[in-house]
């Protein structure tokens, strides 16, 4: 479970990433207070422990989104790298001049607005339901998106059953590891270098690791992945 300091202001979160994301959406400033280390730890543990990977499959991207929100709020907005100049398109100096004036105008408005400090609520805002202005069935029907360009049809593809299902890959991999004592490199067990084979072998490794049947080591990114079934032999 997550230590309480993750969410000093939001104790009601209780380890539900989706609920946390919704809160961050409602009040983006909440992202500032989050302790990302615990958040990432939490998600990794969830992924490791969940019986059904599908139930937690969307938590990692949602967490990544929350992290992005926080970094947008707390990291200084440095000059954007990769702002490549576009090819010359015959712009004159007018645009640059106008742009400088527009930025100046906008910044002066912003500075003036920042001089007002609002009242911090004592009791926490109670959620009050606001009715919809102009709620009307005709309006609803008329709101159906009018512009629907034809979507490019996706050509039908023949998908064949996998002749070598994951369960069998896992069995084969485990018995290979048991035959060879100690660490075995991932590249030794992949068989053919076909992408499909590598992906299949990798998925088998992930599932075996998930089931605590093997241990996995890697010294640094892109290094050989070492597999170890030691201590788990039947």
């Amino acid at each position: 479970m997550i230590p309480e300091e993750v969410l000093p202001a939001e104790r009601s979160w209780q380890g539900d990433i989706q609920a946390l994301a919704l809160k961050v959406r409602r009040s983006p400033m909440l992202a500032r207070e989050l302790h990302l280390v615990y958040l990432v730890q939490f998600v990794s543990e969830r992924w490791r422990e969940a019986a059904d990977l599908q139930t937690v499959s969307d938590e990692a991207p949602v967490t990544a989104w929350i992290i992005r929100r926080k970094s947008d709020l707390v990291l200084p907005q440095r000059e954007v790298a990769g702002e490549d100049a576009l090819e010359e398109s015959g712009a004159d100096g007018t645009d640059a001049l106008w742009l400088a004036g527009a930025v100046q105008g906008l910044q002066s408005v912003f500075e003036a607005a920042q001089m007002y400090h609002g009242h911090a609520s004592h009791s926490g805002d109670r959620e009050v339901y606001h009715p919809v202005k102009g709620a009307d069935l005709l309006k609803l029907v008329g709101s159906w998106p009018q512009l629907r360009p034809p979507k490019p049809a996706i050509a039908p593809q023949l998908v064949r059953d996998d002749e070598y299902p994951l369960e069998r890959r896992m069995e084969r991999l485990l018995s290979t590891l048991h035959q060879r004592a100690g660490l075995v490199g991932f590249t030794d067990v992949t068989g053919s270098p076909q992408p499909g084979e590598v992906v299949g072998a990798f998925l088998a490794v992930v599932h075996l690791w998930h089931q605590n049947q093997i241990a996995v080591h890697q010294d640094s990114a892109y290094d050989e992945i070492w597999l170890d079934a030691g201590g788990k032999r039947p």
Binding site: Q54, S57, Y129, H130, V132, K133, L140, V141, W144, P145
Partner: protein, 172 residues
């Protein structure tokens, strides 16, 4: 005590969410802690004389700016009244799609609208007009959205089947 200290004290208390101790106030204003009660008294007197709705209260060993007690019942009654708020054009579109095609995932809404609809969906969830009604048995188990009882009430319907029939496919 100058009028400026008085205004500063009011602004400081206004910006706080919890009672502020005399020590804290003294530090902010650059005065001795034993002068704080005097500053508070002066602020209280000015608020009362000017017919302000606000007053300084002692709470939890500190000072708190809050509304006068005589306004409590008025506020409790009136703050519950919520004015209708408009929906954006995008939110209306998404609401129409969800109402007629529910249960529906975000990607399916976006397939109809051809534009990112995340924020509009969030708005509608926050406005309690749509809600999560389940998860689709598809990769990633995406959230399924549907309309809420509040939606029916808002549009004067008893059941979702009462939505007017419309043949949307003929409108492209």
């Amino acid at each position: 005590m100058s009028g400026e200290t008085d205004r500063r004290l009011e602004a400081l208390l206004f910006a706080q969410t919890a009672p502020s101790s005399a020590e804290q106030i003294a530090l902010w204003l650059g005065i001795e802690p034993d002068k704080v009660p005097e500053a508070i008294a002066q602020l209280s007197a000015r608020l009362e004389q000017s017919g302000s709705a606000l007053a300084v209260h002692m709470a939890g060993g500190g000072y708190l700016l809050s509304t006068s007690p005589d306004l409590d019942s008025f506020l409790a009654e009136r703050l519950r009244l919520a004015a209708p708020e408009p929906l954006s054009a995008a939110a209306w579109e998404v609401l129409a799609v969800v109402a007629y095609r529910q249960p529906i995932t975000r990607l399916e809404v976006e397939a109809v609208r051809q534009v990112n609809s995340e924020r509009a969906l969030d708005t509608l969830v926050n406005r309690e007009l749509i809600g999560q009604v389940g998860r689709k048995e598809a990769p990633g188990r995406p959230i399924l959205y549907g309309t809420t009882p509040q939606f029916l009430k808002e549009f004067g319907l008893n059941a979702i089947e009462q939505l007017p029939e419309v043949n949307f496919s003929s409108r492209t």
